[in-house]
Amino acid sequence: MIFIHSKIKKLISAYLDNEVSEKEKNLVEEHLKKCTFCRKYYEGLQKLSSTLGKYQEEELSPDLEQRIKNNFLGKKYKGVAKMKNKKLIVGISSGALAILLMFVFVGHMQTYLRRSMQGRVHDTAMELSGAKEYDSTNGRVRFENYVGGSGKQYSSGLTSSVQYQNSSKKIKSVDKEILRGMNGSSAEWESGGHTRADYNKPLSVTAIESSAQEGPIVIVEPYLPATGKEDKLIRNADATLEVENIQKVYDEIVKIGKGKNGYLAAANFNESANGRVSAQIILRVPKEKFEETIDEVRKLGQVKRFDIKSIDVSQDYNALVSELNTIKTVYDKIAEKLKEKKTDIQAAIRLESELTPIAKRIAAIRNKISEYDNLISVSTITINLYEVSWKLMIQESVKETKQRFVAFVSSLLKNSITLLPLLVIICVVVIVCVVLTKKLVRAIKNIFTKKTS
């Protein structure tokens, strides 16, 4: 019974709108005569229909009507079309801009990260080592310790070098190992059977971190130490800094030099064809103030490269001093013989002729020693300065972005070509699925429509 009422209710709604078949009309009318409940419902719906009709109608405002007429009917102004075109243009341009910005951002971020990583690595290296080399061009950092030795540069002093990629964390551990190796007198470097006892032979150790499969390969190349407090070291530093204002930094360097009882040995300013201003300043400071000066110079700008070299000339120096002493003894003996006046004139002339080259040699050795003394007591710091140029940075950024974009597109193309057969299969499957689903839905709909009618 309830089922009949609910069905009739649905029919009453359509009956009121005159949207029922003749059969349904008769059915409703028959039922309404019998059923008071449904009749009441019918009357309620009738009232509802008249009530809904009370809804006040709206009128188009006259000015808008005129505007619509002008805009769309007169075709004088295609507001919507313009708006749509504008939206399209805005959409496309903003999309292109977003992509461009993304590439610029990615390029810039990578450059920034590389620089900051280099900075971190450099700081770590500065903490741990007395001397270091910094190579910003290939993203590698190399630092060197050079303490003592037999005289020749890099030949037999202790040099530890760390080549480093990707992560700054690893440096500390490796460097600690180097230091441990340096300090422990009985420590052995674990490569090729070489030991610390092989004093004059360079020894290389290659430590590859087995756990770091994805990243850093750290290579340690130490050379054996030679040392002593009386070592004669010539210490030089070579720094490359990126600064905002070269003139200001130049003034600061001069100030630092004066403050450390040093002097400005040379200064050279240059402006390249692409507009980048650079300068090379050579500062000389007493060896006691060397570290302090370096620390202060580092703070003047962004360090791009820093290279400190200590050349041990002890052996040469000591050899010169020994030679000088020996020759001096010989010279003194000959001079004494001359003074004794026992020698005849011929012998005296011969002795004099022997003395002349000895005296020359003594003068040469003294010159060399005083040159060494000068180089040892006063260290040389060469500072290369580059001004930060926004124009250049943008140029570099754009270049990098272009390269990245080309790489991205080419990789995309490569991948698409590789995945093309798969994509074709997927497309075919999707199309077939869509067509089948549509057909199925249509068939089901038709079945239901037939049933209801």
Binding site: D17, G44, L45, L48, T51, L60, F72, V80
Partner: protein, 184 residues
Amino acid sequence: MMEYKAGSVSALEEIFQRYKKPILNYAFKLLSSFADAEDVVGEVFYILTLRKDSYEPVAKFSTWIYTIAHNVAIDRIRRRKRIFFFWQKKDKDGTSYAELDIPDTRFMPDNDAEENDISCYVKKAIDKLPFQLKEAIVLRQYHNLSYEEIGAVLNCSLSKVKILIFRAKECLRKELLPYMEEIR
């Protein structure tokens, strides 16, 4: 429309005069915003001028123009949803989100004078209807479209139109019951 298609501008003027009000009211009832409804009128007539060549007199012209209005209104609602996404506020319990209600104050019942004005209750009841039911009942009740024509506008079958209208009437009846004893 065929005259306009042939090139008569006065025919378009006539179409405009005949349909501007129905389209405005149809859009207003669907969107509950007079400004949006006015925009819809403009857009509908613009689309009409654009697609005049694609018009074929297979069905009544009113069906065609209401179909355009229906599509434009749906497009508006989609856009509005995108805007509302940024305007959403949290419910008191903080769990769900509800769209900000921007009421049309012209239809707010005045406490003194228009409390008994049934028109505003009808409007509120229609506003509360789900979109499809609202469309069906509006096209039937206020624009006198047949069920078949409504089916063509809404792109659905006749039986579905019947159900939609029945459900819309049921909802409206329930909504308006407190104000009208006679429809109980």
